[in-house]
């Protein structure tokens, strides 16, 4: 490298420029401004040193380590690993460890070369170092497996995970076996050492813990869970590790941000990120539970139940961290099968069969049973193929969305909605073609005076689209996207989408019943007729279940709609005017995700305001209605709670883990908690209504409520369910 001192030239040039002149490249973007460094500012310039400060970290890797210091180092590494697993870059977490740095740089060509001090025979016989090295190798290899899992799935850089490795390979080329073997050796060494027994056991526990973690990750990479014994063992070791953490003795300078200088010269120094030790244990326990529990989705024997299972994980509180979410995502494509069960095509057909196409010759998997010799058979097959090609990917993507971070779930749904809307239009065309080719006879749907055709494919699309539509609104409520004064309108809108969905489900039911009748009257073989009838019954079961759920949702939403209308009338959550805005402009922002939908078409702002505010009804009348609605909502959720998360028989695959010791399976528990939360929210809504009724003429209460009324945030007391934002009133 050739260097020139440009200080003088720069000073001379700068002197010519009058203060206030900006010399700026037109292409210089905000991105670059934010990334730019201020030379000479120690907070930004990683090359800037205090007078007499050494550019290198001070730590001497040859100095002997006490067993208690070893223990401290290990716990610190566990801590920084947690920070990394929650999304912070390696440069601010594990790569601030001098020990990790030396193991990985220069890039070791053999595992033996990966040591704290290279080419030093004395190191090999240094007991504490051998033990720490084993721990670090296990740690780094685990990181490598975590990274592979996450980056093979869809994730958001920096939001979920920061993958920058700074050319460090994370022992990618060395097998997990060789690293586990080395750990066994270290455990023997540890036994032979003359450490005080308590500390020695504590250290051995940490190495064993790391071995267990690595083995777990190796299993995950192969799509397998670990057995319950290892799982329990891991928790036990964690408890032991936690209880001995206080033995640790700090090792000064073992972690340093100065290492960042060697990682990348153009990045400003960034502070080390650590978490509290309590968070370390909580995080690890949670992550282990999440990983293990996530395998229970394999019990789902049907596309619908799988969707329920994915949702239950997505809306767990706290949401699983990035690694378990990636693991859950990986099941969608494991060995090219969806949840180890079906090829994507068959998975899609399973869903169609249980919604709009029971016993249908349109599905490749039923064609041979229900096939009828139309002359247009091959045309129909071609159109069906068109449908499958178009939709398969979008359908699997719905499951994938539930593996994203909560904010992205909502934002991705907003986009997905527009896509499903477009697909629906295209599918209507395919439906029409199939309709005429198959000489379908129209029939009279409920509440209609016009005979109609089944439109089975677009009807299926519409059903899923309405689900996405509802979830877009509900995740908005979950994430407190809506300001208090908007909640009347948004609950009205939620209830109205549910209403549309209920009508659609009735229509779907009608055509399934038609199909059932047709099968029963057909001259198919007896066993085929029986199978067809069973398929129709399954579809009806599923449609009823959907109906019950959405009806219950509709009732709570309607009750809350009124509650917020009344609060608005009493100006309890209102914003003062004037504003740089009006209702129509705000409506446009709020409804942006729905603005361009062909169906359901968005109502005008005036109509929306009219429906929301219900000016024509008195507050008394409204509150009576809300009391009735919240009572019905409670009953409806109680009905739902009598069912289980799965509609279809559980899959008998070897993966199925029904909880140990006769406990309910994880999904049963999650489901029950979820529905119970909805029951409680309905009760809370009822209580709200009672309070409001009492306060009808109580102006003092209203003034008090203006100050004290609150919306419980996620995790707050009184937030009975993420979906349901019941106001806390005095």
């Amino acid at each position: 490298m050739i260097t020139h001192d440009i200080t003088d030239r720069f000073r001379t040039a700068a002197n010519v420029v009058v203060p206030g002149t900006l010399i700026k490249d037109t292409q210089f973007s905000l991105f670059e401004a934010v990334g730019a460094l201020e030379v000479g500012d120690p907070k930004m310039d990683s090359g800037c040193l205090e007078l007499g400060e050494s550019p290198e970290e001070q730590f001497d890797l040859n100095s002997p380590l006490l067993p208690e210091e070893l223990l401290w180092l290990m716990d610190q590494l566990l801590n920084r690993e947690v920070a990394w697993l929650t999304g912070y870059p390696l440069s601010q977490t594990l790569f601030t460890s001098v020990h990790i740095d030396r193991l990985l740089w220069p890039d070791p060509k053999t595992l033996d070369e990966s040591t704290f001090v290279r080419n030093d025979a004395a190191q090999a016989t240094n007991l504490p170092h051998a033990i720490l090295r084993a721990f670090c190798l296990l740690l780094v290899k685990s990181c490598s497996l975590v990274l592979t899992m996450v980056t093979e799935q869809h994730y958001y850089e920096e939001e979920d995970f920061t993958t920058q490795l700074f050319n460090r390979e994370l022992l990618h080329r060395f097998s997990s076996e060789s690293i586990l073997e080395n750990a066994q050796y270290a455990l023997q060494v540890l036994q032979s050492a003359n450490f005080e027994s308590e500390v020695s056991t504590a250290l051995a526990g940490r190495i064993r813990l790391r071995c267990e973690i690595l083995q777990m990750l190796v299993h995950h990479a192969a799509g397998q869970s670990i057995d319950d014994t290892s799982f329990q063992a891991m928790h036990d070791i964690f408890d032991q590790v936690q209880s001995t953490s206080s033995f640790g003795v700090e090792v000064k300078d073992a972690f340093s941000t100065k290492l960042q200088r060697r990682l990348a010269s153009t990045v400003p120094p960034r502070p080390m990120v650590t978490v509290s030790m309590d968070q370390v244990w909580t995080f690890w326990h949670q992550m282990l539970y999440d990983c293990q529990n996530i395998f229970s989705v394999h019990a789902a024997g049907h596309s619908q139940d799988l969707l329920t299972a994915y949702q239950l994980f997505a809306y767990s509180c706290p949401q699983p961290s990035p690694y378990p979410r990636a693991l859950l995502q990986s099941f969608l494509t494991l060995n090219s099968m969806v949840a180890s069960r079906l090829e994507p095509l068959h998975f899609l057909e399973e869903d169609l069969r249980s919604l709009t196409l029971p016993a249908s010759p349109l599905l490749s998997t039923s064609r041979k049973d229900y096939g009828t010799p139309f002359f247009g058979k091959s045309e129909i097959a071609k159109n069906m193929q068109g449908f499958v090609d178009k939709v398969e990917h979008y359908f699997i993507t719905v499951y994938r969305v539930f593996c994203l971070n909560a904010c992205r779930i909502r934002r991705t749904f907003c986009h997905a909605l527009v896509e499903w809307d477009a697909i629906q239009g295209e599918m209507e065309e395919i439906d029409s073609l199939i309709q005429s080719l198959s000489l379908e006879q129209p029939s009279l749907p409920p509440g209609s005076s016009q005979p109609a055709f089944s439109f089975s494919l677009s009807s299926w699309v519409y059903h899923h689209k309405l689900t996405i539509h509802r979830l877009t609104i509900q995740t908005g409520i979950q994430q407190m996207i809506y300001a208090p004064h908007e909640l009347a309108g948004m609950h009205y809108y939620l209830a109205s989408i549910c209403g549309i969905h209920l009508n659609h489900l009735e229509r779907m039911c009608h055509f399934v019943v038609d199909r059932d009748t047709a099968i029963k009257q057909s001259d198919f073989r007896v066993d085929i007729k029986a199978k067809g009838a069973a398929e129709c019954k399954m579809a009806l079961d599923r449609l009823f279940r959907q109906y019950a759920w959405i009806k219950a949702t509709n009732l709570v939403a309607s009750a809350l709609h009124i509650i917020f209308v009344v609060l608005n009338r009493w100006k309890i959550f209102s914003v003062s005017k004037p504003l740089y805005s009006n209702d129509a402009l705000r409506y446009e922002i709020r409804m942006k995700p729905f603005l361009n939908l062909v169906i359901p078409e968005l109502m005008s702002p005036e109509e929306f305001a009219h429906e929301t505010n219900m000016q024509q009804s008195s507050t008394e009348v409204l509150l009576d209605e809300a009391a009735r609605l919240s009572a019905s909502a409670k009953k409806a959720w109680e009905e739902v709670s009598k069912t289980s998360w799965n509609i279809f028989p559980l899959d008998e695959a070897p993966y199925v883990r029904t909880g140990t010791d006769g406990q309910a399976s994880v999904l049963d528990t999650k489901w029950n908690d979820d529905v119970k939360g909805c029951v409680r929210a309905s009760i809370a809504a009822g209580i709200c209504v009672v309070k409001l009724k009492k306060a009808m003429h109580d102006e003092a209460w209203k003034e008090k409520a203006k100050k004290e009324a609150m919306l419980p945030g996620p995790g707050d007391k009184g937030r009975w369910h993420q979906w349901w934002l019941v106001p806390a009133l005095p």
Binding site: V34, I481, I589, T619
Partner: protein, 234 residues
């Protein structure tokens, strides 16, 4: 039957043009003067602006970030000074920009806002923001956007009391790991329909590895370019 329900909520002053709103919002507490920024003020006020802003930042902005805004949109920066101090010290500041957002709407962006602790609650921030908004309206802005930390109720209330709505939540938006809300204000009807050269790229729909799509090193592939400006209170 009570009669309070028949009374419609206070009529929205829809007839009032947006350019008239500012007057109703801005306040003039004693001993405070508002000044529109100008490059010539840099020697005196930039150090104070930096000091005030960086108080609430986990990590400092470089001088380039300040100059990026202050040189390109000096007029969209407003400061409040305390006239009782001998040096007319700075007590509050707002820094903004205004440009076309991804080839679509003319977007005002409120980048930084802070009031010195002693002077909070006196309407300074609201007045400064209002002045900036007035100028953006005069310069034909279609919309105004900003981000604020999800726990920053003071800021959220302030913006919502001006008419902003939360449009989305941004996971781990700031370098300190906190999430943010994007807040949005439309100034004209139809802004939501102005096309942008936004390429929303639903994952897996093309064959890019997902990680590459949001790589910060490829800002043009970012879901939102402003997402890059994610350090502290902005």
């Amino acid at each position: 039957m009570s009669n309070e329900q028949v009374r419609p909520s206070a009529p929205v002053p829809t007839t009032l043009p947006l350019s008239e709103i500012g007057k109703l919002i801005q306040s003039n507490p004693p001993n405070i003067s508002y000044i529109q920024y100008d490059i010539s003020l840099e020697p005196k006020y930039l150090p104070q602006i930096r000091a005030l802003i960086s108080k609430d930042l986990s990590e400092p902005y470089s001088i380039y970030v300040y100059r990026y805004f202050l040189y390109q949109w000096p007029e969209l920066c407003f400061i409040a000074i305390d006239t009782t101090t001998s040096e007319n010290d700075l007590v509050a500041v707002v820094i903004c920009k205004l440009e076309r957002h991804r080839g679509g709407p003319m977007r005002g962006y409120i980048a930084m806002l802070a009031t010195q602790e002693m002077h909070r609650g006196r309407g300074l921030a609201k007045t400064l923001v209002s002045k900036a908004i007035d100028l953006m309206i005069a310069k034909n802005a279609d919309e105004i956007a900003l981000e604020t930390e999800e726990t920053n109720t003071a800021a959220m209330r302030l913006y919502e009391s001006l008419g902003f709505l939360r449009s989305k939540k941004l996971h781990r938006y700031y370098l300190n790991g906190n999430s943010a809300y994007r807040l949005l204000l439309y100034l004209k009807p139809g802004v939501g329909q102005i096309p942008t050269d936004d390429f929303y790229d639903p994952f897996g729909y093309n064959d890019l590895p997902p990680s590459a799509q949001d790589d910060p090193r490829f800002p043009q592939g970012q879901a939102d370019k402003d997402d890059l400006f994610r350090r502290g209170i902005v």
